[in-house]
């Protein structure tokens, strides 16, 4: 019954023209590098003027516009609060993400809640003859992660804080160096911070670190090296220090294959992660991404190394402008037990117009346990993402 209702819901959402967000997969539109649309060369954070225009004229639908409305006008309305930029040096940005979450569908312990995930204000300042100097700062609401609530680490965190701030210098268009608080460079930076590829590697929504990133983007090769000392706003014992890197090579025009590594340590845990990945345009608007990784975790005061393996496969299918169908299949296995987990998540992503993204996902999580039976878990996530 529940499955039938969910299927009905998904079909209705499809006919209403719904859809969602996820960004490295826009290789499906020919954008194989984040820096085309983002100030941060590895994505996340505010989008630049070109990214705003692409979001309005290529990604978002025209469903709510008069059919005669010129695309040029739609593009101009993607600017901050629909106003033409006052100047080319100062670029403000405001972003919000909220989520309606219903867990354990059809089970006794089912819960419903609405989570304000993010409400940020950002300012980018860029200057120099070729905009080679950039400074970006983000400040806003960021809830304490559930896993850290009522823990010393969580208690030390503030709900209003910065998740990203950095300065950067690009002496040439294809070279850049950045200093500040940023996400670590590793793997495919999918939007789903609850994916196994981000949880196992400890690269979730609050795992940024202060450090330096060197970025290179050539005609067919792109890469980044990252040295970091942890988030200086957190307690010293949980600051992860180390280095990371990710590299991608374009093959067959609209396909990229890549590899990543991460080595980090705090006072309690040493982590070493490696991954390979691919991002491919299948047809215009349709993509497939795959990441396979291994993470070794060793307690500083222990001898037993836990090995974790994860896999992520995500495809993204454009049904018409503004509406995407998403499928995620994930795998996770730890060496500490014989079980493994598989998560399947069909979803819809709809950009009704520029600056608004709606997303609905149903996640089925299944534990494959050789010694005991466990029920499938079904969760419903409906997200709203708005930016100005």
């Amino acid at each position: 019954m529940i499955k039938s209702l969910l299927l009905f819901f998904l079909i209705i959402m499809n006919f209403l023209g719904s859809k969602a967000y996820a960004y490295p997969h826009f290789i499906s539109l020919g954008y194989n590098s984040c820096i085309t649309c983002h100030y941060n060369p590895f994505g996340n954070g505010p989008i630049n003027d070109y990214g705003r225009s692409v979001s309005g004229t290529a990604i978002a639908s025209r469903d709510f516009y008069d059919e005669n409305k010129p695309e040029e006008l739609i593009a101009s309305e993607t600017a901050f609060f629909m106003k033409e930029a006052l100047n080319k040096h100062i670029k403000p940005f405001i972003g919000y993400r909220g989520m309606f979450y219903k867990s354990n569908l059809g089970q006794e312990g089912s819960k419903v809640e609405f989570i304000n995930m993010q409400f940020d204000a950002n300012l980018v300042v860029k200057f120099g003859e070729k905009d080679q100097f950039i400074a970006s700062g983000t400040f806003g609401y960021a809830p304490i992660p559930r896993a850290l609530q009522n823990t010393p680490t969580g208690d030390a965190m503030k709900e209003y804080r910065t998740r990203e701030h950095y300065i950067g210098y690009r002496p040439k268009p294809n070279w850049g160096i950045y200093f500040g608080l940023m996400d670590k460079t590793y793997g495919i930076r999918v939007a789903e911070h609850n994916s196994f590829s981000r949880i196992s590697t400890q690269l979730t929504q609050d795992d940024q670190a202060h450090g330096a990133i060197l970025h290179y983007s050539g005609p067919t090769f792109e890469g980044g090296l990252n040295a970091f000392v942890g988030n200086l706003a957190t307690k010293a014992d949980v600051r992860t220090k180390g280095f990371a890197g990710t590299f991608e090579q374009t093959v067959f025009e609209k396909n990229r294959i890549g590899a990543s590594f991460l080595s980090q340590k705090d006072d309690y845990l040493k982590t070493m992660a490696t991954a390979i990945h691919s991002r491919s345009q299948i047809t215009y608007g349709t993509s497939v991404m795959v990441e396979l990784g291994r993470v070794d975790k060793k307690p500083v005061n222990g001898t037993l190394t836990r090995k974790e393996y994860y896999a992520l496969l995500q495809n993204h299918i454009k049904t018409h402008r503004g509406l995407y169908f998403l499928n995620s299949v994930e795998y996770f296995k730890s060496s500490l037990d014989k079980n493994y987990r598989v998560r399947f998540g069909p979803g819809l992503q709809y950009y009704p117009f520029s600056k608004l993204e709606l997303r609905a996902d149903v996640y089925n999580t299944r534990n494959f346990n050789q010694e005991a039976n466990s029920r499938d878990r079904w969760d419903l996530l409906m997200q709203i993402h708005a930016w100005f």
Binding site: G30, Y31, Y50, E71, P173, N174, F252, N255, I282, A311
Partner: protein, 163 residues
């Protein structure tokens, strides 16, 4: 173990996706600092005639408005950049090709230039030609939109039926 299990899938997807692009005329442009896009049309006009091992054509041409990039606004900018209202066609004339190489007169924006190209025979009735074009050689200004530019080196691939 996981690598052995998933690597064939990884390889399959990568290889499969490489087979997805095909068009009668494809213009590949590289963006600066990163990215690329293609303008494509299936309406490449004109006849290629084979005589012995030699290929000739009096004229091949496309209407600029038939070239589509996948984004309407980008199409508008692309067509205007090529000055389509004054020069609505891109044409190649006096085409002669043999032994994998050829030459022609390419006219863009009303400016003719000699253009060399390479080609390969796909099957008995189809050949595919490749060449690179410098837009600046055709009096086209640097293409730039909201700080994202297009490199002055454009790859062209033309797939043509042979009579």
């Amino acid at each position: 173990m996981i690598s052995k299990t998933y690597f064939p899938l990884f390889l399959f997807i990568t290889l499969f996706s490489s087979l997805s692009n095909a068009s009668d005329l494809s213009v590949h442009m590289t963006l600066s600092p990163a990215g690329s896009f293609d303008a494509k049309t299936a309406k490449l006009r004109g006849d290629v005639v084979k005589s012995g091992d030699k290929y000739t054509a009096d004229s091949l041409w496309v209407k600029i408005e038939d070239l589509k990039t996948g984004i309407d606004l980008r199409d508008d900018h692309f067509h205007k950049h090529l000055n389509f209202e004054k020069f609505p066609k891109i044409s190649m004339t006096n085409i002669v090709a043999q032994s994998g190489k050829g030459s022609a007169m390419l006219t863009i924006n009303g400016v003719p230039n000699k253009q060399d190209f390479t080609y390969k025979q796909i099957n008995d009735k189809k050949i595919e030609a490749h060449f690179n074009v410098k837009p600046s050689a055709y009096k086209l200004k640097e293409a730039k939109y909201l700080e994202i530019g297009v490199d002055d080196d454009v790859e062209v691939t033309a797939s043509m039926d042979v009579k």
